[in-house]
């Protein structure tokens, strides 16, 4: 009990940035509004510089677990920094977005369990897969 109370005072720094993002994906490739909405709802909490923190983020150790997911997610892919990746890595990321969504590997099951809106419909999945695949093809041919 004491440990639990003490733990509450150890709050990780929040992943929040009010900065303008020059390397944002929308500045590098075309991101239609409909796609942007899905990315924002289902991906950005862990794959961008801004997380919308849920209430349980303030209760430890839930907040710590969340924090480690965000750290890992951002290292893997950060939509706000996509433009700074070498072209080859951009292509790999788009390929992985399509395959991870198609395989239901992303968004994570634990995230979907707590975030109803992140449970993508069949149409939303097709939308993301098509967008990622076409964008990948267009930057490959523009090489």
């Amino acid at each position: 009990m004491v440990a639990f109370i003490v733990a509450q005072f150890i709050q990780p720094a929040h992943n929040e940035s009010g900065q303008v993002m020059p390397a944002d994906i929308s500045k590098t490739v075309s991101v239609p509004q409909v796609v942007d909405v899905v990315l924002n709802t289902a991906c950005y909490d862990c794959h961008s510089n801004n997380t919308r923190y849920p209430w349980y983020a303030y209760i430890q150790p839930a907040g710590w677990i969340l924090n480690s997911h965000i750290k890992k997610g951002k290292a893997e892919l950060n939509f706000n920094e996509f433009g700074s990746y070498p072209l080859r890595r951009q292509q790999s990321k788009l390929k992985s977005i399509a395959s991870q969504v198609s395989d239901d590997a992303m968004p994570l099951a634990s995230y979907k369990w707590l975030h109803k809106k992140a449970r993508l419909s069949k149409e939303e999945k097709v939308l993301i897969i098509d967008w990622a695949t076409k964008t990948n093809e267009s930057i490959s041919s523009g090489k």
Partner: protein
């Protein structure tokens, strides 16, 4: 030391000219050997890439993971001193991407399908690397038309015989040699 510098300089000259590429091969190999002490070479990258390839052909996800770990390490420690500016640019583009694919292969021993997805892109990276820097050995660029819902994928092999790393034991000899890299 003087000899090493000369070898590097010779190598650098050859890199600039595609006409003398064939003749430059021996020089390139010597330069690679001379530099092996300070960092890793293309030879190390190819060796561990082939380790993954052979493991996947045997449907061995654990062994592929070991190869992935070793490959990520040698990519990180690659010695770039002998590269021309142009080659450095290509390497910079390939390095981060290839390392990430190797890492994913190393952490997904239980998910061989996922390892193969990353292996497909990794193969393209290593192919481009070998095309730019030379492998110091004969490699075959093979193509399997059936993988990934008939979209197909390529891989590099040290043997002319087909040992398919994408379909493994279910279809070990599916594929053809598309190109021989000397």
């Amino acid at each position: 030391m003087g000899l090493a510098i000369m070898v590097i300089a010779l190598g650098a000259c050859n890199y600039n000219s595609t006409e003398v590429k064939k003749r430059g091969d021996t020089t390139k190999a010597t330069a690679t050997a001379a530099l092996a002490a300070s960092g890793t070479s293309v030879k190390d990258i190819v060796e561990h890439y082939l380790h993954i390839k052979n493991a996947l052909a045997k449907d061995d996800g654990n062994e592929a993971a070991n190869g992935g770990k070793a490959l990520a390490d040698v990519i990180a420690q690659f010695d770039q001193t002998s590269l021309t500016a142009e080659q450095k640019k290509t390497f910079a583009d390939i390095q981060g991407d290839a390392k990430e694919h190797a890492e994913h292969i190393s952490t997904n021993a239980e998910k061989i399908a996922h390892q193969r997805e990353h292996f497909a892109t990794l193969s393209k990276d290593v192919y481009d690397l070998v095309k730019t820097l030379g492998a110091g050995q004969t490699l075959y660029n093979d193509f399997c038309p059936m993988y990934n819902n008939n979209k197909g994928a390529t891989w590099l092999s040290e043997t002319k015989d087909i040992k398919n790393p994408y379909l493994g034991k279910t279809m070990p000899t599916c594929g053809t040699v598309k190109e021989t890299l000397q």
